[in-house]
């Protein structure tokens, strides 16, 4: 469909598209989303956060596609709108991969497009989801993820300091830190005997320079690994993000389209944000050549997605893409609670259940919404993978997923205003044995027992 090289065309449109102030674009998008909700009759029901309505899923997809075609993508550097035709978007979608080979050698995993209520269990491509970790605990923390039996890939998380100095983006400190963190991720997977495990990103890198600096075929990130290319809220891109694309394409890396649509933001409520999420996914297909997608729905105030709104967006956007495309995409639970609390595991569980039945591959976990450094561990990430597998193996339907998710919600919704942030990694784990403390294991067993009562069939897990 694109007669010239697609990147070159996008570049040209970013220079010649319609000039518009950012606030005008936001207003245009907000208005159009509301119109599309009416046109396509998309309605949110808080009692049904995981609707079993194929027709509505299709309408959400069509609305998302129409939104991207109507408003285009906003280029922050040039303040111009990059427009695409419907045919162009669908043609790029046709070319997007449905099967990915992540990692290498014996540790390679094959990620495939998943359908609604797909009996094939989802992979779990996890990690600290970009949350900050002290230099001191970084290797141990990543190793705690890599060693989990229900973890198929890690991403390298983020540190805030290098040799004790603050890392400023765009300085050599960022480059030094990213290189160290990529090598630390490599060391973590090596230590657990999985040296070819896929590493999804080096999240310390905030700039294109930082992301590129993670590449190194022996000690850093390899072509079989990935790197995030992010969108800014909503449907916004810039040259720093686009610069990563030709670099990653030529190096053969997996490109991961990171989206953080805000519930309560420009997209409005959950129905509008579901439409925006579809549009952003399609933008990642067209502009970023994404191999897979990473939907990180974020509540505008609490930075979580474990409320009804987040559940609905997850369910509807997932079903829309599952039914109308063949892409591989992931999502992460952003939670208000922290490690060594039952609440965190209920938040993770509802997300794993809904995402598994709605066609996603697992990604996560953002404990404490990223507010507390070091408050993330391998246990909750492995637990997400375990719940996802149990969900698929138990034949959970969307109706049943809705029921389980709402039961989970009851366990933690009262803490939204006074979240239990739990313990940091260095207190939640024995740093010598790299095992969770007994209290954390007990949380795991309690929540798992509840989920089993509600219909999930587990096999023996790591911390039973």
């Amino acid at each position: 469909m694109f007669t010239r090289e697609r990147l070159l065309e996008i570049y040209q449109r970013s220079r010649s598209g319609k000039f518009m102030k950012e606030v005008e674009y936001d207003l245009m998008l907000a208005k159009r989303v509301q119109e599309l909700l009416k046109e396509y009759d998309i309605k949110y029901d808080p009692k049904n956060v995981c609707p079993a309505d194929d027709d509505m899923a299709d309408r959400v997809f069509q609305a998302g596609l129409q939104l991207l075609v109507d408003v285009g993508a906003y280029h922050l550097d040039t303040q111009r709108v990059i427009k695409f035709t419907k045919e162009e978007v669908l043609d790029c979608l046709r070319l997007a991969p449905d099967t990915l080979y992540l990692g290498e050698g014996k540790d390679m995993v094959i990620a495939k497009h998943r359908n609604i209520e797909d009996p094939n269990p989802p992979l779990n491509l996890t990690g600290p989801a970009g949350q900050a970790c002290d230099e001191e605990y970084y290797l141990a923390n990543l190793t705690s993820y890599a060693q989990e039996p229900y973890v198929d890939a890690i991403e390298s998380g983020a540190t805030l300091t290098y040799n004790g100095y603050d890392i400023m983006a765009g300085t050599l400190m960022e480059v030094l830190a990213v290189q160290r963190d990529a090598a630390t991720a490599r060391e973590a997977v090596r230590r657990v005997g999985k040296p070819g495990m896929h590493i999804g990103d080096a999240a310390t890198g905030m700039t294109a320079i930082g992301k590129m600096a993670a590449s190194e075929p022996i000690n850093g990130l390899r072509p079989c690994d990935g790197r995030l290319v992010a969108q800014m809220c909503e449907l916004k891109i810039d040259d720093d993000q686009l610069n990563r694309v030709p670099y990653l394409l030529n190096n053969g890396n997996h490109i991961i389209n990171l989206m953080t649509p805000l519930t309560g933001g420009v997209g409005g409520g959950p129905d509008g944000v579901a439409v925006v999420s579809v549009a952003e996914t399609l933008l990642g297909v067209v502009a970023y050549y994404a191999d897979y997608h990473y939907l990180s729905i974020t509540h505008i105030k609490r930075a979580n997605n474990s409320d009804e709104w987040g559940m609905y967006v997850l369910a509807m956007a997932g079903q829309a893409m599952a039914r109308n495309s063949h892409i591989v995409w992931t999502c992460d639970p952003f939670c208000v609670s922290g490690p060594v609390t039952d609440e965190l595991l209920y938040e993770v569980a509802q997300h794993a259940v809904i995402s598994t039945v709605c066609g996603y591959t697992q990604h996560g976990v953002g404990a404490t919404g990223g507010f507390e450094p070091n408050h993330h561990t391998g246990l909750e990430a492995g637990f997400q993978g375990e719940v996802g597998v149990a969900t698929a193996n138990s034949g959970i339907t969307r109706e049943k997923a809705n029921e389980i998710a709402l039961k989970c919600l009851k366990k933690y919704e009262a803490t939204f205003d006074t979240p239990k942030r739990g313990l940091p990694f260095q207190e939640a784990y024995d740093l010598k044995t790299l095992q969770p403390i007994e209290e954390w294991k007990e949380c795991y067993r309690r929540v798992k027992a509840d989920l089993a009562k509600w219909g999930l069939q587990f096999t023996v897990g790591p911390w039973d």
């Binding site: 480059v175 290189q179 610069n243």
Partner: protein, 467 residues
């Protein structure tokens, strides 16, 4: 002694004395004449290759003083990065006297060359500061890489990508630089020298552009190099410094590019040599460079083959060669275009001045690098022949040759013949120089032989002994 300098440089960048850029420039401009007076430094336009060790040593001390007093200006923070004398002396002492560039059978050893050294210059080539067109870039690089006397290749720069002007910091820059790195790799592969050292890809202007050229399969490798630039005079920024962190980890050769301007902030040739020496120390302290590009240039005419430029090469080269293990390569910017006799005379003068003064050969920028496609392999062959033939020459002898070569073009130097671009002086199919270009080359070569410097044969003896 610091074992990990980079975080310390950031710390000093953030905590060093704040100063406006114009105030820094004024301070530097004021201090240089004082140093010239203090050290009794004098430029003699009739002696282009001085034979005065004491002058060379005093120039070095003045450059060291300037560096210590001014520090390095970080444009990102508007602060001065200051170093103590002990720190600089320690770092200079740790500079390696020799190292390998390239790999396997195509590797060469770059060694510190003293004054009047018998160690052959390493011959770098490629479009030095000269843009190439997308169409002819692959042919230009191949014409350089195939030259047997050429040891290393620079990938040069191309200003468009599929016809679009490349804007730094955009995806077009990334697309273009990756293409150009691959073109350089392909050029040396075609020449049967697949692991020849590539000293830079010059298209990128940003850190992201530079580091995106690294790819061991199709792009730059750890045995290659990339430039990290200084801004005139004695200035750096975080974009440049970030490259250091990346390249050190990859094990690449860092090439410190400086372009001190004669007639600029440093003043005349003496002041600019002092600045150039200080710039080398910046490259040691902040960039941890493997080698440096001694890239001084006339402020108005973009050349270094005038009297001041030639003296600058000789005097500064000797100052560094006598006082440090630092290695530099030149960048010969001729006024004349390619396909002309004058360009070759300009190259010959600079080549001799640099060879006896400890500097390696870095390549040629014809027409001051101002005109697209003014690069070919033949002038690099010529440069190598002159340089190798000058080995073992005394500075007095070299001065005689340089003055004689200079006399061939002095009158027309600033009103030079424009010459012809690559496509008109090379047969694109055979990748051989045209008869016209070869004739000019033979004419000047034979004329040089008549002066007593047998550039047609002496290089053979040098290569026989060094290979």
């Amino acid at each position: 002694m610091y074992s990990n300098w980079l975080p310390e440089i950031v710390r000093r960048s953030e905590a060093g004395p704040y100063i406006k850029e114009s105030d820094y420039d004024m301070k530097l401009t004021k201090r240089i004449p004082e140093l010239i007076k203090e050290y009794g430094l004098v430029y003699d336009p009739n002696v282009l290759v001085p034979s005065d060790d004491d002058l060379a040593n005093r120039l070095y001390q003045a450059g060291l003083d300037l560096f210590l007093e001014m520090g390095v200006y970080n444009m990102s923070t508007q602060r001065r990065i200051l170093f103590s004398r002990d720190e600089v002396e320690e770092a200079v002492a740790l500079v390696p006297r020799s190292f390998t560039v390239g790999a396997g059978k195509d590797s060469v050893i770059m060694q510190h060359r003293g004054v009047e050294s018998s160690i052959p210059c390493v011959i770098h080539s490629g479009p030095t500061g000269t843009p190439a067109s997308e169409k002819y870039h692959p042919f230009i690089l191949a014409s350089c890489a195939q030259e047997p006397l050429v040891d290393c290749l620079g990938a040069g720069s191309v200003s468009t990508y599929q016809g679009e002007m490349i804007i730094p910091g955009t995806p077009l820059e990334i697309l273009a630089v990756q293409r150009d790195a691959a073109v350089a790799r392909e050029a040396i592969r075609k020449a049967g020298r697949p692991e020849m050292h590539i000293n830079d890809v010059a298209s990128p202007l940003t850190c992201a552009g530079k580091i995106s050229t690294y790819n061991p399969e199709w792009g730059m490798r750890s045995t290659d190099g990339l430039l990290i630039s200084q801004m005139v005079e004695l200035k750096t920024d975080y974009d440049q410094l970030s490259r250091v962190a990346r390249m050190k980890t990859l094990g690449m050769h860092i090439v410190d590019l400086m372009t001190p301007l004669i007639g600029g902030l440093g003043g005349g040739p003496v002041g600019t040599v002092i600045v150039t020496i200080a710039c080398h120390l910046l490259g040691v302290m902040c960039y941890q460079a493997s080698y440096h590009i001694y890239g001084h240039m006339h402020l108005l005419h973009s050349t270094d083959t005038d009297r001041m430029g030639l003296w600058g090469y000789a005097a500064g080269g000797q100052a560094l060669a006598l006082n440090t293990p630092i290695q530099s390569i030149n960048a010969i910017y001729t006024q004349a275009g390619l396909g002309t006799e004058q360009a070759l005379w300009e190259i010959a003068a600079a080549s001799v001045a640099c060879t006896v003064s400890g500097i390696h050969q870095g390549g040629v920028g014809a027409r001051g690098g101002s005109t697209e496609d003014h690069t070919s392999g033949l002038e690099n062959r010529f440069n190598a022949q002159v340089s190798h033939s000058s080995l073992g020459m005394t500075r007095e002898e070299a001065n005689g040759y340089v003055l004689e070569f200079f006399s061939k073009y002095e009158e027309t130097h600033m009103n030079p013949p424009g010459g012809k671009p690559f496509s008109e002086i090379y047969n694109i199919d055979t990748l051989e120089p045209t008869e016209e270009w070869l004739e000019k080359y033979h004419t000047v070569s034979d004329a040089i032989v008549k002066t007593g410097l047998d550039i047609n044969n002496r290089w053979k003896e040098v290569k026989r002994k060094s290979n």
